[in-house]
Symmetry: D2
Subunit: 339 residues, 4 copies
């Protein structure tokens, strides 16, 4: 039984982490905090009435360090890098759900997050928490950078192909669609029901801060650097990401071989499901689960592979994956508390 803290429990990711951890057989949630909200968790999240007596207070590093073995940081970027060094120093393992420790480089961070990184030492040490690619590193890590929601889907959808067909790939286009909780829980006209429901639009076209994250981890799979084209869209749903990924290849591939490549790659993974060639992934199959579903199709006239990937942005794209990482870091079964 380990003691876990959640920093930033008033947001959707923090809530999802708490909801999942309350069911986890090896975890006791001992500490929760939020910046602008304090009070009983059951008042902040009435969903959890009768399920917890936790009290949420403003973040206090001494308290957090004293009460937790592991801390999940569900806070905005720039906040995580202020907290992390202190927690690590106190011997607390940290899983950061923000973008602060994902990009490896102070310069790239500055370019995309418009802020100076104040913890470059840990930035270099952080392990990228995508268990399907970095399982062994995660097991030994004390600081895990939990992947972004879009990159989780993109990298799982591309890893088997990019790792083996690197030199054949001419271009990658990712047409991504996300539900509104991807933007967090905030007061904003743009995310009000009256603006989102019955609507759909692209945003940050070719210019989203998840682009360098995807490119960085694709580059590790492949000697040729792999630039991508990424266009995100806002779906009128609460949860879920579906990405339609178009990969142009320079020579002929066979769909059956690609499919076998994917099923083999993920054979032992508890949370990736490669669908049959006649099936298409759908959001509803992954919502409220930690699964990542993948379908494949091919235009063999044009050597264009179409990969569709679906995840729940709050689970596999955030809190669920954080718990999967925690399981690995703490020696539990990878899927404990997640099925």
């Amino acid at each position: 039984m380990i003691k876990v803290g959640i920093v930033g429990v008033s947001g959707y990711s923090g809530f999802t982490a708490l909801e999942l951890l309350l069911r986890h057989p090896n975890v006791r949630v001992t500490y929760v905090s939020a910046n602008n909200t304090r009070g009983k968790i059951s008042d902040i999240w009435p969903q959890l009435k009768n399920r917890t007596k936790l009290y949420c207070d403003q973040f206090d590093v001494t308290k957090a360090a004293g009460q937790c073995d592991v801390a999940l940081l569900a806070v905005p970027h720039t906040i995580a890098m202020q907290i992390t060094p202190k927690l690590l120093k106190a011997g607390v393992k940290v899983i950061d759900l923000s973008g602060d420790y994902r990009l490896g480089s102070v310069a790239t961070y500055k370019k995309w997050y418009k802020a100076t990184h104040t913890d470059p030492r840990n930035l270099r040490k952080a392990v990228y928490g995508l268990p399907e690619l970095y399982k062994e590193e995660i097991k030994k890590a004390s600081l895990v950078a939990n992947p972004g929601c879009y990159p989780t889907a993109a990298l799982l959808g591309l890893a088997p192909l990019v790792g083996t067909h690197c030199e054949l790939i001419e271009s990658i286009i990712i047409d991504a669609k996300s539900g509104v909780t991807g933007a967090g829980r905030k007061a904003s006209v743009a995310f009000s029901h009256g603006e989102v429901s019955e609507n759909f639009k692209a945003y940050k076209v070719l210019n989203h801060q998840h682009v360098p994250e995807i490119e960085r981890y694709l580059a590790k799979l492949c000697t040729h650097s792999k630039a991508i084209n990424f266009v995100p869209h806002l779906l009128p749903v609460n949860r879920g990401i579906l990405e339609t990924i178009y990969v142009k290849l320079s020579s002929r591939v066979r769909l059956n071989r690609c499919h076998k490549l994917y099923t083999n790659f993920f054979k032992v993974e508890p949370f990736v499901r490669v669908f049959g060639l006649e099936e298409q992934v759908e959001l509803k199959n992954v919502v409220k689960t930690n699964f990542c579903d993948i379908s494949l199709a091919l235009n063999d006239q044009k050597n264009l592979l179409v990969i569709t990937v679906a995840i729940d942005n709050l689970v596999k794209g955030a809190a669920g994956q954080a718990i999967q990482n925690m399981n690995l870091m703490c020696g539990f079964s990878e899927s404990e508390g997640l099925l």
Copy 2:
């Protein structure tokens, strides 16, 4: 051709008024303003690109008075009562969509809107803009208090019965359900898609500021004062109000007679449709129209009449009704620009 101004064009009611007036054959919209937004209407409301070259500026009473014959005030309460006296003095007819001129009494206003009324003179003179009840008064009015969305549905649903069966009515319960645009266009977690979609709840139970408005105009139909029980709910839709009204009667009535009473009452009204006894009103039939639909059912064991009423809160419940009033005030056909 008259010149019309819209004050508060950046909100949903103001927008709806503008959208409708751009199609009105006898109207030229000559003035639009908003408090916190300025710029081309086609930038504020891209829906209206290619349809208007209007420019929205901060409200200026001299400009407004100089450029309009009629002004529609789609502003928050307390703002309308600051603007109205000046416009009236300048000879501009005013239709106020806020609650400022509906309650007739300074004391009731203070109790429900938590503000001191600063224009009691016009408060007494204002005509309540429910054309089905006050058509002749509206024709002669220079200041019309456009009804609230909930009261519009409640009063149309109750008027035929209350006006004729006053002494038989033992109690009135109004279970009301409204789409999110009823709350206006604002940055708020409570109205974000993530909180509203797939959700439903009651709010301001027995304590909504539309209660005194409904009771005031019921009282005018009936010697016995008619207190009501009113429970509003938030529907996960953008537009529309449906009210289920339960009227307990002290003696037996026949459903056919009630139905005839309603069809007769509204026979000449262009915008009220009394449905057949086998039919139920639905939001989708009134959304984006100025219609008010009404169905009747009876529990004849218990003398309980169930009246269901549907309107679009932004059209018959706000901007459409304002234009219906404008048509009457200006001598146009009542339904001009609204069908």
Copy 3:
């Protein structure tokens, strides 16, 4: 570890039961069937890929009896009464989610379900599976009639009051709102997205088949027979029921006393949460849970108590409650597998 079968696994209730039971520590699902669908569960419900290898076949009573200790019947009414006697005879405990065994009387069944009851013997013996009222009877039962979704909310919302204030109650009005899965999973224009989304309407006004079920179990709490007025509405959400219940009392009550009455009544119940007087229940707090949330408000001028009740129609209103009953029938902790 008990062996459980689900008859009717291709519908929403059957699916929900399966999804919940796959997590239940004391249950192995050994048998699933459906009438018009056969194949691997992971093809019928791709949500469950990687989670089960069950195969769904047409119902076969011999197989079912041989493979199960308990059977959950998630089938249409009239089907359950054909299957039940055979399963009971073979020693299988039965929890019927249809309306077949709820009404106690062959005549009432005929009137509301338009069919002749073919199993009157078991109809008389069946225990009504509302654990908050009939816990001890359920523990000993071999046939449980699982309550309807609307009656579950109505009876939990009314039981504390009706059981203690019977003679003071003058009238009960239940304004009920349900998500679309309440109607089952079926091909129908009326339930298509294009008709339901952004829509809202009442249906079966004063004439729903759950009326006699509610009245029958209220009558058991109270010497005066309690007729109700029940108006259901269709909400544009997938899951959830919210009922706003208006109880007119003949004399003064105090809200605090009512609230205490409710909190005491449900003090030991794991799945009923009585909200504080300043809070209102919302669908989102109960969706995907087995909780029933209750709020109270009072118009003390008119002695009108307003009770709002929220459940998930597929969990507490169907499959979750069935598992709660199964837990009781099998000697497990009442909330096992449900939190």
Copy 4:
């Protein structure tokens, strides 16, 4: 004043045509029919109560021919080609909203619609009703093949570029998203609210029947044949199509020049709005209008142009465009009744 008939008025396109035509100043709707529904229009579509007394009967060619100058066919494919020759022979102008007359070739029709074309003579004569490309031909046509919803958006989004940069285009990928009314009004589990709401998926990946239609009309703009990659998705909204089109160019282009190309191309078109370079199109701006909105973005490192296009599938993608065609065929102003 012309007399217009609508064949297939019980579907969404037929209804939308009727709703629009009831407001058209030069049109009297004199004939409506449907195959499986008969009765008063106000019973079939309660939205239209008080607006029309039309009666819908089964289709009768003699009646239709006697009562109409123009017929809009909003019927399934294969039905239109049975009706059209008879109407044309009787001197009625025909606008067919089905796919029957769009593909020009009996063989292509057979391949994609799995049916033998029975009216090859008119198939050759039909004019493709995309007014922005074929205005002059439409003015003289007696048979217009109204474009499919996806092709309308795709062709308007691509025409300016393909017509001028034909030889530079290396590949075209169309990632298309459509609301549910695109599939028509039908009883189907797959389109029920419970399956569509909060869901999202791709379907008919690389294999939709609109592919040959898009390719055929692109080919007319360009000497090099332009094969496309087309992946449609089902959006959880009722109305609207948004297509994100990726065009890979073999050499450098400048975004400003592309933008100017588009604004010039559509300068005189009343229904195409090219957005500024900082703006993105959204469904909500086109829903319930006949507008087609277009935004442009460029990855100038990779010479990838991203064109986003939005229309209402029932208006510009079906009934609205049909009326735009009717206006041209009958000598009315192109936008009459559509603004």
